[in-house]
């Protein structure tokens, strides 16, 4: 398929770094959901999602962010989203996601943001 979905998990300055690439849609969203669920189940509430290689997102992908954000914030954590390319960013904008989510430039900025502002009220 053009642009299959890819996902890697690593640790970054005490946060869980999930790097996703390709197309995040209703077919691939479950894999992404599992990755965040695994972090949260392991008591990791600081999550950075690096979207540098993400070229497409539909509401199924956005829904994954939406369903976890309250829980991690309740636990004093957050999901910092970084590396959005303009095409993907446009979809976040269409739904008003920037009002609720912390969108930053890159992984370094996300780490920095966790240091300054570990959580955020929706």
């Amino acid at each position: 398929m053009p642009q299959p979905f890819s996902l890697q998990v690593s640790q970054q300055a005490g946060a869980s770094l999930i790097s996703i690439g390709g197309h995040l849609d209703a077919h691939t969203a479950p894999e992404f959901e599992t990755a965040i669920q695994t972090a949260v189940d392991g008591g990791q509430f600081q999550v950075i999602v690096d979207c540098t290689n993400l070229s497409y997102i539909s509401s199924a992908g956005l829904g994954v962010f939406m369903s976890f954000i309250e829980e991690v914030r309740e636990q004093g954590g957050d999901i910092k989203i970084c590396g959005l390319v303009p095409k993907v960013r446009q979809v976040f904008d269409l739904l008003g996601f920037p009002d609720i989510f912390d969108l930053v430039d890159d992984v370094a900025a996300a780490v920095q943001r966790f240091a300054e502002s570990p959580t955020r009220k929706g």
């Binding site: 398929m1 053009p2 642009q3 197309h23 849609d25 209703a26 077919h27 959901e33 497409y56 539909s58 509401s59 199924a60 956005l62 829904g63 994954v64 939406m66 369903s67 976890f68 954000i69 309250e70 829980e71 303009p86 095409k87 446009q90 979809v91 269409l94 739904l95 008003g96 996601f97 009002d99 609720i100 929706g122």
Partner: protein
């Protein structure tokens, strides 16, 4: 090369696995109308959302069913018809929740119809439960409006 026109129909098995194929086809097709990349992406996204709903809601992930997407292209508009033979639903009875509320309730769904409404100029739904439901998505072409302004 002349502007592309006419009716284009795609039918694929009802599986989320085929969403990428649908997007690829729709994107390639409507790129030929001369719309810019961002518009092409948004229209492709609207079709993805509509097909996802057919696969997940109308057919409850029954792979033996088929998703049908019809695209009509002319100088004035791009029209998609997404057809299913599932139970159907009444979108007028469905009131999309606000994002804040979805977040508070930890919902992972409920964004698709809103995206479709935001992207398209016109959205209509005709349903005959169990027989044929069809979601009509229309995008008017700006270049056409410009042309009319010049004409007058």
């Amino acid at each position: 090369m002349n502007a592309i026109e006419g009716k284009f129909t795609l039918t694929v098995p009802s599986s989320t696995q085929n969403l990428a194929l649908i997007r690829d086809f729709i994107g390639t097709l409507i790129m030929q109308t001369g719309l810019d990349e961002n518009e092409v992406l948004k229209l492709t996204l609207a079709v993805d959302e509509a097909c996802t709903n057919v696969i997940e809601h109308a057919y409850g992930k029954d792979n033996s069913k088929e998703v049908l997407v019809r695209t009509f292209l002319d100088n004035h508009e791009i029209r998609f018809e997404i057809e299913d033979t599932g139970l159907g639903f009444d979108p007028n009875a469905y009131q999309p929740d606000e994002l804040e509320r979805l977040v508070a309730e930890r919902k992972s769904g409920g964004l698709g119809l809103r995206l479709i409404q935001t992207i398209m100029d016109e959205v209509r739904y005709e349903f005959e439960p169990g027989r044929k439901n069809s979601l009509l998505l229309i995008k008017r072409l700006r270049k056409d409006e410009n042309r009319e302004v010049i004409k007058n």
